[in-house]
């Protein structure tokens, strides 16, 4: 095989462009998934059947179908009767929506994981409802929620190159375009290694966080 460092050198400016786009998609996608997941989780706890049931059905459907096909759906189908979005925007919405169905489960488990005795103890101390949430339930739930949420951010990072398939210029998109123009493959290898290099310290960080929080 021939490995040409010159090719790598030529790719570098575009690589950094791609890194920026990937991180941007990851950051906004994360925000969407964290916020939307909370909405799903609360809706699934709703006392109203006509809220609980459709939300459960929709989140189950989204979680059990491929993100790639959802991206195609958002990019090619939604504009038929809704807004037309750029590839990057579509990708970010797709990532955020897909992962919100996972974070919803994390929130749900986090809230349900607080032992019933804690609610009872708060009642016994006649804490108000908002005080119970703020002082008792949420601090315990957050400890359970942060590590798995972090893991999903890493998972989202690894799924983010899918947005290249609808034409976004993230790391993979840049590498693909560069490779096609130059008939080389070094760029793909660079991007592959870059994912590991970003993901590994991130998961180390989450594990450290987990050890601190989960007692």
């Amino acid at each position: 095989m021939n490995w040409d460092w010159q090719v790598v050198d030529d790719f570098m400016p575009r690589f950094w462009d791609g890194v920026l786009v990937t991180l941007q998609a990851l950051a906004i996608g994360t925000l969407i998934s964290f916020a939307l997941g909370l909405v799903w989780a609360l809706a699934q706890r709703s006392p109203l059947v006509w809220v609980r049931w459709p939300v459960t059905a929709v989140t189950e459907f989204i979680r059990n179908t491929p993100l790639l096909v959802q991206l195609f759906f958002l990019f090619y189908v939604v504009p038929n009767f809704g807004p037309s979005m750029s590839p990057l925007t579509t990708g970010i919405v797709g990532l955020g929506l897909h992962y919100s169905t996972y974070t919803a489960e994390v929130y749900r488990a986090g809230i349900e994981g607080v032992p019933a005795g804690q609610w009872e103890a708060a009642t016994a101390l006649s804490l108000s409802r908002s005080r119970t949430w703020r002082a008792v339930i949420l601090p315990q739930a957050i400890r359970r929620v942060v590590p798995p949420l972090g893991n999903y951010v890493v998972a989202m990072l690894k799924d983010s190159p899918m947005i290249a398939t609808i034409g976004a210029f993230d790391m993979l998109g840049e590498a693909q375009a560069f490779s096609n123009e130059t008939f080389t493959t070094e760029a793909l290898t660079v991007v592959g290694v870059a994912f590991i290099v970003i993901a590994y310290p991130a998961s180390l960080l989450i594990r450290a966080l987990e050890r601190r929080l989960v007692r």
């Binding site: 491929p66 996972y102 590590p147 798995p148 993979l172 493959t185 793909l188 993901a199």
Partner: protein, 246 residues
Amino acid sequence: MMSSEFFTTWFLPGIWVTIQVTVYAAALGAVVAFGIGLARASQYWIVRFLAGVYFEIFRGTSALVLMFWMFFALPLFGWQLAPMWAGVSALGLTYGAYGSEVVRGSLAAVSPAQKEAGIALNFTRWQRLRLIELPQAWPEMVPPFNNLLIELMKGTALVSVITVADMTFAGNLLRLGTNETTPVYTLLLVLYFVLAFLITRGMRVLERKAKAGIGQQPEKRGGITAKTGARGESLQAGAPSAGGVR
């Protein structure tokens, strides 16, 4: 609308290819999961270390990038893989890495007293693993394996990007040919959901059998997938997390 001719020439074979890729990648993934999972519990530090390196690398790898790399870059190293096998390898190697964490965690969760009972009966290390630890860990592995299998099945859609004619590939062809995007992608999503549903049903049966094999009742669980730990990533704390494990 979709012509019946197109349906039989592209879509039906596409479904079959998706199923094939899922089965082959799952088989490879299972081999990797048990191989690496057992190696990570080895008594030799060098084996544990190498298996740990594998785990960390493939946990940090994006399946799609790996697939691209195997398809485009690997041939330059003198290894030409047919597109389908590039896809199967990429999926099997990455999901196998997640699976190894399930195997390692479930084995670690077997009570140490069981190991001691095995020593007291003078079993060798391998006999203990085969007769005591694996059979007891197995029912604990099935629910997280179900989640991973669904993730892997969803991941098979990626092979369409490297020209494997699975059902997503057929859908994209149809879009190019007809511009009938709405029915095509809706049908596609529904088909994947049906596959996920069938996998979950199948794994439930497997779980019930596995639990019956150690004299336990399976517990009730809602939803098509187990509720938490829906991805391998959240399993790293050692023992499988809340998702239907005692």
